[in-house]
């Protein structure tokens, strides 16, 4: 068996990323996810709980990894989150999408934008024009070259985390990395 190096992020976390938590937190958790993926939907409340537990010691970053062939709405959902981000509400849209995973048609995406007080017409235009498609593709590419092999895939301080992402296991791994 050949020796296997742990997969590592090829695109370091930086200015381009959507992050929650302090930039100088001792631990950074990166998730590559897909808004239409049921596993990511299950991970969503888990990550929320983990963030609550770690508090200011954790920075959480979400990057897009839409599996377009399996999930027909995933690409536009990702672009809608980016469009909301351009209007200052990435995380609000991110949360809404995971909470309404069952309703991700374009009409809903635009409705969510309106609900969040965004310029929904602009979001609609940007979805139609694929304004954020290159950004989503850049996330996807960075995931592929970093060894993302499905969704969700997590990285802790830059290294792929292949163990359980149930709350207790993930908290323990993050606590470990924080030391």
């Amino acid at each position: 068996m050949s020796k296997r190096a742990a997969a590592a992020l090829t695109l370091p976390v930086g200015e381009r990323d959507h992050a929650q938590g302090p930039a100088d937190a001792p631990v950074t958790l990166v998730e590559y996810g897909d808004y239409e993926c049921p596993h990511c939907g299950r991970a969503y409340p888990i990550v929320k709980e983990v963030r609550r537990r770690l508090g200011r010691r954790l920075r959480f970053v979400f990057r897009n990894f839409p599996l377009r062939e399996s999930h027909p709405h995933a690409e536009h959902a990702a672009e809608a989150a980016e469009a909301a981000g351009a209007q200052g509400k990435f995380w609000e849209m991110h949360d809404r999408l995971f909470e309404r995973q069952f309703a991700l048609d374009d009409d809903y995406l635009i409705e969510y934008a309106a609900d969040l007080g965004l310029d929904a017409a602009r979001v609609g235009r940007e979805l139609a024009a694929g304004t954020y498609a290159p950004r989503v593709r850049e996330d996807f590419r960075s995931g592929v070259t970093s060894g993302v092999n499905g969704t969700p895939t997590f990285f802790i301080n830059g290294l792929r985390y292949d163990e359980s992402w149930e709350v207790e296991a993930l908290v323990a791994a993050l606590e470990d990395a924080a030391r």
Binding site: M1, L67, S70, V144, T145, N149, G150
Partner: protein, 167 residues
Amino acid sequence: MATPPQGPGAPLPAGTRAPDFALSSAPDRTVSLADFRGRPVILAFYPADWSPVCGDQMALYNEVLPEFERYNAQLLGISVDGTWCHAAFARDRRLRFPLLADFEPKGAVARRYGAYRQADGFSERALFVIDGGGIIRWSDVSPIDVNPGADGILRALEALTGASTPA
């Protein structure tokens, strides 16, 4: 032509000439390695259609096809499943690359690549990147239950195009 058999978990290494083969990719179509001479080929041996990890691995590669195409590389999936099984699997997962049936004699191609699990009767989860001249430039076997992702393939393709001037 005939390549000495390797031990289990010992895929043909980089630098070896890739054994040619002709396998069915559909009930009425045959694909051979030589068809792709001049282009990089990615051979992805996997244990079986429908098993959870393989499904995820092939679904991932389906999504990554545009990245492979940037290197003008052709991806070929290979398992011991028959063509009708492959056809149903590919349709279900909407796969846009050929799945080859290493079906009769069973696993013969996998054996020649050192990627057959004799005791299990199916192939390893083995990856080969072959250059346009038919030489293996990178190979890797993953633990059977681990989806290897696509990063190793992309690094190999990158190295390949870096080493020789792309057409």
